[in-house]
Symmetry: C2
Subunit: 135 residues, 2 copies
DNA sequence: TTAAATACGATTAATTTTGACGTATATACA
DNA sequence: TGTATATACGTCAAAATTAATCGTATTTAA
C-alpha cells in the first residue's frame, strides 16, 4: 500500500502546531492538541507519549502539565518519525528482524528487495520535518 | 506500514524469472510460475493477468499457452508496478481521488502531505525494474 | 471432443490499523 | 492534604485492508 499511518499523520499535525505556535504557552496538553487538530484524544495521546519517549517532545506531569517541543525540526527526518510511529519501516515483511518468511529458502528476490529497501529508507532519511512542514 | 504488498512481490519474482530465463521457452504458464516461485497459484495468476492487461506481459490462451515478457525492464519503473498492483500509490488516504477525509476542512497538513507524496512518487518513478532486479 | 490454459466475479480468511477503556502515577493548588 | 488534571501504559474491540480461495466462462492445441 505504501501509506503512512494515522499516527504519523497526527504527529505531523501536532508538530506543525508546535512549530506554528512558538508565541503561546510552551506547554500544550494532549487534550488541547486533540481539540486543535480534531483528532481522537486516545490516539494522539499515544503519539505524544511516543514522541516524548524519543526525545522530540518533553512531557511535564500534573495539573498544568503538557508537552513541549525540544528538538529542532531540521534535525528530525521523515524516517525518524516513521521509525517511531509506524509498525515497521521495512519495505517487506520478510525484512523485519526475526519474522522470517516461509518462502525465504527459495526466494529469488531477497537481494533486490533488500537493495530497494535501503534506497527507500535513505530517501526518507534525506528529508527533514522542517522541509516537509514548512511548505 | 510503508510496505509493498504480496502481489507486487510476486510480480517481482515473476518478472525476475522471465528476465533470468531468456533461453528457455518463451511462454510460461501461471501454473509453472506458481511452482517456480512457490507462490499461491490463484494470486500469481491474478498478478500475471494484471501485468498482461497493462502491456508488460503478453498472454496466449489455450493448451500450450502462457505469458511472455514483452516490455523492457529498463522501461518499467517501480512506480509503474505499484500503480498496477497496489490498491493505491498515494501516501495518505485523503489524497486518493474522491474518498475525502472527514478532517479535510480543518486539516493543517494537506499541503505538506501532498508535497511529500509527490516527492515519494517521483522517487519511485526514478527507479527502473532493471535496476532493482539486476543486483 | 477434451484437456489445459487465461480471465474474472464473488466470497472468505487472515492480518493490520485504529480507536476505546481502565488504571496507575505525578503534580499544582485550594 | 485532598482533589482535579495531567502523563503513562497495558489490554482489548471494532474497522479496514490484504491475502487467498472458489466457481465459472472463454480460448485453443491436439
Amino acid at each position: 500500500m505504501n501509506k503512512i499511518n494515522k499516527k504519523t499523520e497526527y504527529a505531523l499535525m501536532a508538530l506543525k502546531y508546535f512549530s506554528d505556535n512558538t508565541q503561546g504557552p510552551v506547554l500544550v496538553s494532549a487534550k488541547d492538541l486533540a481539540e486543535k487538530t480534531h483528532t481522537p484524544f486516545d490516539v494522539i495521546a499515544r503519539v505524544l507519549q511516543a514522541l516524548s519517549s524519543r526525545g522530540i517532545l518533553k512531557a511535564e506531569y500534573g495539573v498544568s502539565g503538557g508537552y513541549q517541543l525540544v528538538k529542532n525540526l531540521e534535525d528530525i527526518t521523515v524516517y525518524d518519525l516513521m521509525n517511531i510511529l509506524e509498525s515497521s519501516t521495512e519495505l517487506a515483511k520478510c525484512l523485519g528482524s526475526e519474522t522470517s518468511c516461509e518462502l525465504s529458502s527459495t526466494c529469488t528476490i531477497v537481494s533486490p528487495i533488500t537493495n530497494l529497501n535501503h534506497r527507500v529508507q535513505n530517501f526518507y532519511k534525506s528529508i527533514s520535518l522542517a522541509e516537509v512542514l514548512h511548505v
